[in-house]
């Protein structure tokens, strides 16, 4: 436990002043104030501050809750002073005291502060301020509310605050996407939608997984411009301010704490692979027919396993060519086959079991690994020096076979030093080193893509005679997707090593009560070295010399940030009941980043990973950016009668990212709060606290580095015009009005409600320009986003007794983002993966994040006239058992396909809606494109962002046993389940399995893909349709997750040694959802640098640049769940 920084520093300073002034021996005339501070259950409250503001002195309570203040006789004059006691989680207590020489006994019992309104916050405010007086929403989470340590600080925040934090990839070490109040940039390429992250005053370069969450003391969150104006040009998305632990508030001496946690990680859910198949087999059901042109059907048959062995036991680096199937769902499914009369797409039902042993490729790929986390910290102080130091190790290998996951070692040293009574110095340093692998295995074409294409007959663990995994165990057509997913996991060696140093130095000078001066210097350096290596002899499904010869991809990135500031604060009581404050600040910030990559293939020598070993297709790439910013800030605040608070600030920001003609931008804020229940006329004693608050502020969104410049692309020396420059480019400006109230009933139950309306103007968009310019686009300030948010938090300390307590808290948020102004015609954008590039439409009036694609009819009204009148029971068009409108012909019904042999029939194009032929019983694609009646229309299908989110935390303590659970839910969002969608290409989704269905409900394979004639022989049709989203594969991804579960027991001292605790911890244990993929919590975020050209320098994840927006389940690593046992002790 510690105090917020600025308050604490005052406390440390005051304590030090006392020590220095008082010397080591008390005078005979001195006053001594002693006492004990306990909570309302009778437990001691250590680390509570006890202050006498008039004398500028204060101390902390010890572990028994006791304190002693020694006041030199020279300062004792029988005056009235105020003794104030404060500790986190409890309401402060104030007591008047007439100070005279001798002993004063003053004990305090502090009431629980369920709404934490008395806590002091430092984020967004001009100086440390009690929450009750902050005129905007600041959420403060201290370590006690994060009992389950996560891999990184952001995962640890999930469910604790009302915000959209999406763990979009389960890859260990990945950083979740964060939207505090919805998206704020229509196009966030190169900058992201994340808030500003500050760690111990250092503005850091994101990448929070480098920070050890166990070092965190508090996290404060300010969500929008109304609160974050203080931070100016970078703060439009809000601020997450992390304060790490320190030795402040500790008595002299050292306390060591050791934590150890071990368990396993696995994957909760499965992906629905097909169990059956539609291939042609001989009459024995054991051998498969082979396609041989000009031979009768099934004149030749083969054994699947023997054929697998034949093509995989090739001595070379690639598999042999397998025998072909007459009807091959993995290939273009023919409308015919030699000797086959009829149409397999409408005659074949996926009901045949695979012969022999069947396997589950997902189960074979998922391999629970041992999760381990160990840390030790040292906390304490001597004299005027206080310190906190820690060392930790986390090993999170994930649950994917052959991958090592994420490992991090981190070290931290935080030191506070008081010098005399006026100077305080704080130093914060941390170093971490982490390794990660598997960064090449997400997205189309990678391991999880291939995993969705494994039929049940395939044993992906099968090895050939040379003990190599079968490279092509799937004999069907389908190209490289038929590669064994385990092969690349086993043989592509990827390693990303990160070294991170973050340090901050704060010097504070408090010469007098009414003035203080503070200087800060922050430094953040992050280096990543990455290597991806396929050794010579890397196997492929077909001859691919460049790959078979091996390849090397190496590179490094460096990010360095320095921020400095000087801050002066003046305080003055204009009247006895009117306090004023003025703050002035200057800030300078510089962020530099570099990336260098090199690559090549066709290695000379096996096993050598240096780039010089590559003999072909060598290429290099690099980029360097530098960003500088200057901020000038002035702010003033008034506090009248301790219940009316008014403040305002102005910040002038200059940034090198703005166009040369527009380097400076002004931001500001006006805000106020009214503590209504402190009014003398307040009539309701049941309402123990009520604050109404309002704030209007502006903050900025910076352009991406490249936006202001005219640029040519230059790739290996080849020039091309690219982007027109814009010297007038300005930042996005967030205007936010936030209104809210904090209510406390009976001194216990707390409710906080916030409404925020944010208008983000001057959206920075790459506007396509006429091709006649030769350039593709120009970044311009166009368009406005409107975000409306409603947030609620509820704290319910239901039972608070000495031996048992039960508390519950609920957070809820609802956000909506509309594009209210655009200034250019509508356009589509999306993410970087194939088929996803045009999934969101951007147009005026559109809800941001609306997914567009093709639609299968679900209502009669979607049919064009006159067909819409021929739709309904007994008519030509009817709704089938799955809810799709299908053509069945008048007098028939959708259950008659098999019994009446109707699947073979069709409606000619000349008689069909839009002039398109209809296959019997097949889903019908909505057509009627304005430019082409037969073309499918692109329409809105769903929304990527949830309607609302909520989380419920329960904490029950009985004697020494504590049970804590967090359920986190997101409701109303849709995800394009691309994995399921594309698996229909090969009929490898278990949706296609018909076993268990009746003759009335069973569907032929063409129902799922490649139903003929609808689009001719192009292969389009069926629920697969095309690569783009459709309303079959865009599905509800609402979920509720048991995010955290902790059962702990406080053992206490064992053999007189230590203070022991034992716990059982579960993370992501259980998900309630109707979603068909691995995990509804999914999205496409940024990609680390990859070999090739497109991603060689990395990517920020499409235009939305956030996994919380890019709602596509495109072969990401599923989130892991873990189950561990932990042990802690301190001594």
């Amino acid at each position: 436990m510690t105090l917020p920084r600025r308050v604490h520093w005052s406390g440390v300073g005051l304590s030090a002043a006392l020590l220095v002034c008082a010397g080591g021996e008390a005078w005979g005339q001195e006053a001594v104030v002693r006492g004990r501070v306990i909570d309302d259950r009778g437990d001691a409250l250590p680390a509570a501050t006890v202050q006498i503001a008039e004398l500028n002195v204060g101390v902390y309570t010890n572990s028994a809750g006791a304190y002693t203040i020694l006041i030199p006789a020279v300062r004792v004059a029988g005056q009235a002073v105020t003794l104030k006691v404060r500790v986190i989680g409890h309401k402060p207590a104030v007591r008047q005291l007439v100070l005279s020489a001798g002993e004063h006994a003053e004990d305090f019992t502090l009431a629980t502060d369920p709404n934490l309104l008395e806590e002091v916050v430092v984020t967004g405010v001009q100086e440390a301020t009690e929450q009750i007086k902050v005129p905007f929403s600041v959420t403060r989470i201290d370590a006690s509310r994060m009992p389950v340590a996560a891999e990184d600080p952001l995962r640890q925040l999930q469910g604790k605050i009302a915000a959209n934090i999406v763990s979009n990839s389960g890859r260990p070490g990945s950083q979740p996407a964060v939207l505090l109040r919805g998206p704020t940039s229509i196009n966030a390429t190169g900058r992201g939608q994340d808030p500003l992250y500050i760690v111990d005053g250092v503005i850091v370069n994101g990448s929070l997984p480098d920070i050890n969450p166990q070092d965190i003391q508090t996290i404060e969150v300010v969500k929008g411009a109304a609160g974050a104006s203080l931070y100016g040009a970078r703060a439009g998305n809000g601020v997450i301010n992390i304060t790490t632990k320190s030795g402040r508030g500790t008595p002299d001496g050292v306390t060591f704490t050791v934590r150890s946690e071990e368990g396993v990680s696995d994957i909760e859910r499965d992906f629905g692979l097909a169990h059956f198949q539609p291939l042609l087999m001989d009459e024995t059901g054991t051998r498969f027919c082979q396609l041989v042109s000009q031979q009768p059907l099934c004149a030749t048959t083969f054994n699947y396993a023997a054929e697998q062995a034949r093509i995989n036991n090739q001595p070379g680096d690639f598999a042999g060519t397998p025998k072909g199937f007459p009807i091959d769902p993995g290939s273009t499914l023919s409308g015919t086959a030699p000797g086959y009369s009829g149409d397999p797409r409408r005659e074949r039902f996926q009901i045949a079991p695979w012969p022999g042993t069947n396997y589950n490729a997902v189960a074979q790929t998922v391999d629970p690994h041992v999760y381990a986390s160990n840390s030790v910290d040292m906390r304490g102080g001597f004299g005027s020096t206080r310190f906190y130091a820690s060392a930790s190790n986390i090993t999170e290998p994930g649950a994917i076979r052959f991958l090592q996951g994420f490992r991090r070692n981190s070290f931290r040293a935080n030191v506070d030093q008081a010098i005399g009574s006026k100077w305080n110095i704080g130093l914060r340093t941390t170093y971490s080193r982490s390794t990660q692998d598997g960064l090449n295995q997400e997205g189309g074409g990678q391991a999880f893509f291939r995993l969705t294409r494994v039929p049940a007959i395939v044993n992906v663990e099968q090895q050939d005679s040379l003990q190599r995994l079968y490279i092509r165990p799937n004999l069907q057509g389908g190209g490289s997707q038929n590669e064994n997913p385990l092969y690349s996991l086993q043989n592509t060696q990827r390693s990303d090593v990160t070294n991170r140093v973050v340090g901050g130095l704060t010097v504070q000078y408090n010469p007098v009560n009414w003035f203080n001066l503070q200087g800060d210097v922050g430094y953040d350096r992050r280096n990543v070295d990455f290597t991806q290596f396929n050794d010579k002899g890397f196997r492929t499904t077909t001859s691919t010399p460049a790959t078979n010869g091996g390849s090397i991809f190496k590179g490094s990135t460096g990010q360095e940030a320095v921020n400095t500031s000087v801050n002066a604060t003046f305080r003055h009581d204009l009247r006895a009941d009117l306090k004023a404050r003025l703050s002035l600040r200057y800030l300078y910030e510089q962020r530099d980043s570099t990336i260098e990559v090199g690559q090549g293939n066709t290695l000379s020598v096996k096993g050598v990973t240096s780039l010089g070993n590559a003999t072909a297709n060598q290429a290099v790439g690099s980029a360097a950016t530098s960003v500088r910013g200057i901020g000038l800030f002035a702010g003033a605040g008034l506090d009248y009668k301790d219940r009316y608070v008014l403040e305002g600030l102005v910040r002038r920001d200059g940034s090198s990212l703005y166009g040369a003609g527009n380097r400076w931008q002004t931001f500001g804020r006006v805000s106020g709060s009214w503590l209504v229940m402190r009014e003398p006329w307040w009539p309701l004693p049941q309402v123990s606290e009520l604050k109404l608050r309002g704030s209007y502020g502006t903050a900025g969104g910076l352009p991406p580095f490249v936006a202001q410049y005219e640029t040519f692309t230059i790739t290996n020396g080849v020039l091309a015009l690219a982007v027109l420059g814009n010297r007038n480019l300005r930042p996005e400006v967030h205007h936010e009005l936030e209104l809210g109230g904090d209510l406390e009933l009976f001194g216990r139950f707390g409710l906080s409600a916030t409404y925020a309306r944010s208008r983000i103007e001057n959206q920075i968009l790459p506007v396509p320009v006429c091709a006649c310019t030769g350039y593709t686009s120009q970044w311009q300030n166009l368009g406005t986003l409107l975000n409306i948010s409603h947030e609620l938090s509820l704290n319910l300390p239901l039972i608070q007794r000495s031996d048992v307590s039960w508390s519950m808290s609920v957070v809820y948020d609802h956000n909506r983002s509309w594009i209210t102004k655009l200034g250019v015609p509508p356009f589509f954008q999306g993410t970087i993966l194939q088929g996803t590039g045009s999934m969101f439409q951007i147009k005026e009036g559109e809800l941001y994040g609306t997914i567009y694609g093709h639609q299968f009819l679900t209502t009669c009204s979607q049919l064009p006239a006159p067909f819409n009148t021929q739709c309904g029971p007994g008519q030509a068009f009817q709704t089938n058992d799955e809810g799709w409108i299908v053509w069945v012909g008048a007098g028939n019904n959708p259950g008659m396909g098999i019994t009446n042999n109707l699947w073979e029939t069709s409606l000619p194009a000349s008689q069909g809606p839009w002039g398109v032929a209809m296959n019997w019983g097949m889903p019908i694609l909505l057509r009627g494109d304005p430019n082409n009646a037969q073309a499918a229309r692109v329409v809105a299908l769903g929304h990527a962002l949830p309607d609302f989110r909520f989380a419920v935390t329960q904490n029950v303590q009985w004697k020494r046993l504590n049970v804590y659970a967090l359920v986190d839910a997101a409701i109303g969002q849709q995800v394009w389940n691309q994995g399921l969608h594309w698996a229909h290409l090969d009929f490898l989704s278990n949706d296609v399995d018909q076993v268990g269905k009746s003759v009335q409900t069973a569907k032929p394979i063409g129902y799922y893909y490649r139903a003929p004639a609808v689009d001719g022989f192009s292969g389009l049709g069926g629920l697969y349709d095309q690569l783009m989203p459709n309303n079959y594969s865009v599905e509800s991804a609402s979920y509720a997750k048991l995010r955290e579960l902790l059962v702990s027991y406080h053992v206490g001292s064992v053999g007189g040694v230590g203070d022991w605790g034992i716990s059982v911890v579960g993370r992501n244990l259980f998900t309630i959802t109707g979603y068909r993929g691995f995990d509804p919590e999914v999205g496409i975020g940024a990609f680390a640098p990859q070999p090739g050209t497109t991603l060689a320098l990395g990517s920020s994840g499409g235009q939305g640049a956030s996994g919380a927006i890019n709602a596509v389940d495109a072969f990401s690593f599923p989130n892991t769940r873990s189950f561990t046992i932990g042990l802690t002790t301190s001594f």
Binding site: P545, T711, A935, L1020
Partner: protein, 593 residues
């Protein structure tokens, strides 16, 4: 004095430092006009990349805009012209290859929109680079008049080819000149011109390139990196310009009538002044450099992914087995219900196909050896790469590798001419314009102007030289005269002609001997397959050989119309604008399909 000097220097440094805007940060990652156009060497580098951009906007595999390397018009052109068949939705191949054809909607988010836009943007970009370079050359010399002339000529060449490609592919485009928008200002929109106007300008720019290079050839040969691997002499440069002019003029027409009215006398002249050997570019695929044809990787990836199939409708025209027995080969295929057609063996005297009368012997007789130690037909191990121009061009796939597919699309044949190139990781020379292509424009011109004998002689260059079939010269005297059955030397029992084409008189249910026109088109198809930009498509629309309702060109992409604040439109499809009529050879509903 020394101390004073130090103090003075220090003051100067301080003043300079104080005057420096700390917020002014240069972009060191990418160049701009301010840097490139003020340095002669950089300007020359810029000029040298103009044709690189032309290439990337058509055949090149570089990711020059958002989307995949192949997401341009070329995969669509290949399937729309039936040069390639694929039902995959990737790169809009399936939708463009539908039979019956559907239109190109060209609405926001519609299928293939990224590919539709890519070529449009990149070819305009190349043209703008050319005019910016020419403007810059007015202010900066490259070092000598000869180098300036070479640079100017090359820029005009790039400008002409870029505009010519736009005129081939789209119904209109912007004619870019150094006067229309010299600062490339986003506010200045150059009006659209119809494809004929654009082509007129393109041809004029190519004339200009020829004239500039002729006036001062001292800067030649071109540095070989400008068109990678082609250190063209001034004479060769002119030949290349003339060849492009021949290609553009011949293929501009959207309909048979329009093609027929092209200036064929000029085309003959251009073609005769054109290249005499295949125009090959030395490819260096990404990530190494900007010269690449990524599509080649799909040319023989037949079975596994079905990116590439060769339609038996076209390859079947080589088959002679059905001439004597209509229960065989192409005749049988034509006479089979469309949904029941299956691949068949092409028994043919044309040596560009594997020879033999049975599947077992056919691939063995004359299959080339293309890549050392890679599996060959029938399991044979192949020994060494064969050159591009050896025969056969196609592989008769071993039975074990047969793949199912759409009846109009599948055959037993794969394109293997490029296999050695692809197996070299797409490094090396690849022809993007064959001498045969240009020669056959002259041949067509001769037919158009009525000199059948001259046409026959030109057709025979490859017909005899590559196909080893008997010549037309001296036999064919009339453009309506069927190519007679003439050869039983190479195929035992065969006594028929090549090509054999679906017979309208037989409701396209059997084949008949083609005429010299069919022979011309046959040579063109075999000699240009999978080489240049839309080879079969651009020729096919003017010949009337596209399937009915195929869009005969692309509309101005909706993305561009949005920037112009104009409404957009679709093309092709039944009842749509710019849709092909009923195709020759029965390429319409109720005939062949």
């Amino acid at each position: 004095m020394g101390k004073l000097r130090h103090v003075a220097r220090g003051l100067v440094v301080l003043v300079v430092a104080a005057c420096t805007d700390p917020l002014a940060v240069a972009n060191s990652n990418q160049p701009d006009r301010g840097r490139v156009f003020t340095n002669a060497a950089d300007l020359e580098q810029f000029i040298s990349n103009i044709y690189t951009n032309v290439h990337q906007g058509t055949l090149g595999g570089a990711v020059v805009l958002d989307g995949g390397a192949n997401d341009g018009l070329q995969p669509q052109l290949l399937v729309a012209g039936m040069e390639n068949v694929s039902g995959l939705a990737n790169f809009a191949m399936g939708p463009r290859g539908n039979i019956p054809r559907t239109g190109i909607a060209n609405t926001r988010g519609s299928t293939g929109n990224q590919g539709n836009y890519r070529d449009w943007v990149v070819e305009h970009r190349a043209a703008r680079m050319a005019v910016l370079a020419i403007s810059a050359l007015g202010k900066l010399t490259l070092g000598s008049p000869g180098r300036d002339a070479r640079g100017r000529a090359f820029a005009r060449f790039g400008q002409g080819v870029a505009l010519g490609n736009l005129a081939l592919a789209y119904d209109s485009a912007a004619v870019l000149t150094e006067n229309d928008n010299p600062e490339a200002d986003a506010a200045v929109v150059v009006p659209l011109s119809g494809y004929q106007t654009v082509m007129t300008k393109a041809l004029a720019y190519l004339d200009s390139a020829i004239a500039i290079s002729t006036a001062d050839p001292s800067g030649f040969p071109l540095p070989s990196a400008w068109i990678n691997g082609n250190a063209l002499t001034q004479t060769q440069f002119v030949q290349l310009c003339r060849s492009y002019q021949a290609r553009f003029l011949a293929n501009l027409g959207r309909t048979p009538a329009e093609r027929a009215t092209a200036d064929w006398a000029t085309i003959i002249a251009y073609a005769n002044a054109g290249i005499t050997a295949d125009f090959q570019i030395t490819m260096l695929p990404p990530p190494a450099a900007g010269w690449d044809i990524s599509w080649v990787i799909q040319h023989y990836a037949t079975g596994a992914a079905n990116w590439h199939q060769m339609s038996q409708f076209w390859v079947g025209m080589a088959d002679t087995s059905g001439a004597a027995d209509t229960s065989k080969g192409y005749d049988h295929w034509l006479n089979t219900a469309p949904g029941s057609r299956t691949p068949f063996l092409v028994v043919t005297p044309d040596r560009r196909f594997p020879q033999g009368t049975t599947r077992g012997t056919n691939p063995i007789n004359d299959v080339g050896t293309q890549v050392a130690n890679s599996p060959g037909p029938g399991g044979a191990r192949q020994r060494s790469p064969i050159p591009w121009d050896s025969v056969p061009y196609f592989r008769n796939r071993p039975p074990g590798e047969d793949q199912p597919g759409d009846p109009m699309g599948i055959s037993q044949y794969d394109f293997y001419r490029s296999r050695a190139f692809n197996n070299a990781s797409r490094n090396g020379a690849y022809p993007v314009m064959t001498a045969a292509e240009i020669r056959l424009y002259a041949a067509e011109g001769q037919l158009r102007v009525g000199t059948v004998a001259a046409a026959a002689a030109l057709i025979d260059v490859t017909r005899v030289g590559k196909g080893r079939m008997k010549p037309l010269s001296g036999v064919i005297t009339d453009s309506l005269m069927p190519v007679p059955g003439m050869d039983n030397t190479y195929v035992a029992g065969s006594r028929s002609c090549v090509p054999r084409v679906p017979d309208a008189a037989a409701a396209y249910k059997r084949a008949k001997c083609g005429t010299i026109w069919d022979a011309l088109k046959w040579e063109y198809r075999l000699e240009t397959a999978y080489t240049g930009y839309g080879m079969w498509f651009f020729a096919g629309r003017g010949w009337g050989d596209l399937p009915q309702y195929t869009a005969v060109n692309w509309a101005v992409p909706y993305q561009e119309m949005d920037t112009r604040l104009e409404s957009f439109y679709g093309v092709g499809g039944q009842g749509g604008r710019d849709a092909a009529g009923a195709g020759n050879y029965g390429l319409f509903t109720g005939a062949v399909y």
